[in-house]
Amino acid sequence: MDLLNIFIKSAFIENMILAYFIGMCSFLAVSKSVKTAIGLGAAVIFVLAITVPINWAISELILGPNGIFKTDLTFLRFILFIASIAATVQLVEMAVEKYSPSLYNALGIFLPLITVNCAILGAALFMVAREYTFTESVVYGVGSGFGWLIAIVLMAAIREKMRYSQVPAPLRGLGMAFLLTAFLGIGFMSLMGINPATYFANH
């Protein structure tokens, strides 16, 4: 129940994009079609599911005061986190290039930019701040990746519909994307403050 709680919370209530507005760059640029959005969303889930536990291990076993060096090395956190994320993304990029060249071309510059997707580093930092255990960090990584996928697919679906609407010319495309994100964000604010644990206990 506790793990389910973390999953629901990270996917919906504390949605990376629509509640915290983290990881916007690729969200705005790749949400033109549902197909590409699903591809990138899956890549983000995969990267988060791997990097959050790896970064958990780094911060517990290497950087923490109880780690192998027996000293507090937390000031090195940023560099080590980003290095492990970059290595993972590079592996994913090579795999995608080999097995799905069409997805590779569709994602373009935004695949390497997953590395600098604030959501990935943000998830690692939230994981440290909330003092999750190893299992919890795996669930948290998958959950926030899932929330990211939901948000980008939602957005892509609305934008595909928007193509048939009469939007004022200067707002077409990017302008509409910003406006929609603002409204989706305000909508997701209504989920804030809900605690799944008490909700399940009462129902």
């Binding site: 507005f21 980003i82 590079q90 930019l113 600098v116 997707n117 580093l121 930092l125 707002l171 603002a182």
Partner: protein
């Protein structure tokens, strides 16, 4: 929309150090090729640090310095970087520069450092820095790359400051921390210090991150209705 790939710019050795091409590198990102409103890079921090002007200003300057110098360094070593590990090399350069900026801020402006600490770290993951490295510095000479970095950083900074000014003015009735509009606490104690503008009720919407999205939408709307070639025809 997100075509960030820029054709390499030919600079002949006989050309002046700050000729037409170089001016274009600085001017374009300020308006016609703006990182936030046209290239869609670096939006995350635009939402988080823009509730007040001062942190937005410091953030903008820090980003401009980091983009400029990381472009310079990567451009200098671009021919020695193997393609497969380029991202790690780029990130290490960025992380070192960000650490320098953070330490300098901590030493000279401690209160701002405290206010910004998380977001200074998140410059590492700011898409502008890496986006410009991938799109420009990997294919161009050091001097144009440096100017491109500074130009993009400044293009980012002015949007940040503009949004922050609007949000602080309407959300808190203040600019740079000085109260201009709205009922102040002094007003409640001493009626003499009340200003003519104390009728204003601060707008709570402007404090929410969503308001930054709305303001960027308005900026895009204005910009694209003036520049017809930026309009998305797809």
């Amino acid at each position: 929309m997100a075509e960030v790939v820029v054709a390499p710019i030919e600079v002949k050795p006989s050309e002046p150090w700050f000729g037409k091409n170089e001016k274009k590198l600085i001017n374009d990102p300020l308006h016609i090729d703006n990182p936030i409103t046209v290239q869609v890079l670096g939006v995350c921090s635009a939402l988080a640090v823009t509730t007040m002007v001062k942190p937005a200003l410091i953030m903008g300057i820090s980003v401009a310095l980091v983009t400029g110098f990381s472009n310079l360094v990567i451009s200098l070593i671009r021919n020695g970087i193997p393609k497969q590990i380029r991202m790690i090399v780029q990130l290490v350069v960025i992380a070192v520069l960000v650490t320098i900026v953070e330490q300098v801020l901590k030493a000279f402006s401690f209160d701002v450092w405290k206010q910004l600490s998380v977001f200074i770290g998140l410059i590492i993951t700011n898409c502008i820095v890496m986006g410009r490295l991938e799109a420009f510095a990997m294919a161009n000479k050091p001097w144009p790359s440096f100017l491109d970095g500074i130009g993009n950083g400044l293009g980012y900074a002015w949007i940040l400051v503009a949004i922050a000014a609007i949000r602080e003015f309407f959300g808190r009735g203040a600019i740079l921390g000085y109260k201009i509009l709205g009922p102040s606490s002094e007003f409640l104690i001493n009626t003499k210090s009340s200003s003519l503008l104390s009728w204003y009720q601060p707008n709570g919407l402007m404090v929410l991150p969503a308001s930054a999205m709305l303001l960027i939408t308005i900026i895009i709307w204005i910009q694209r209705s003036k520049e017809a070639k930026l309009v998305d025809i797809s």
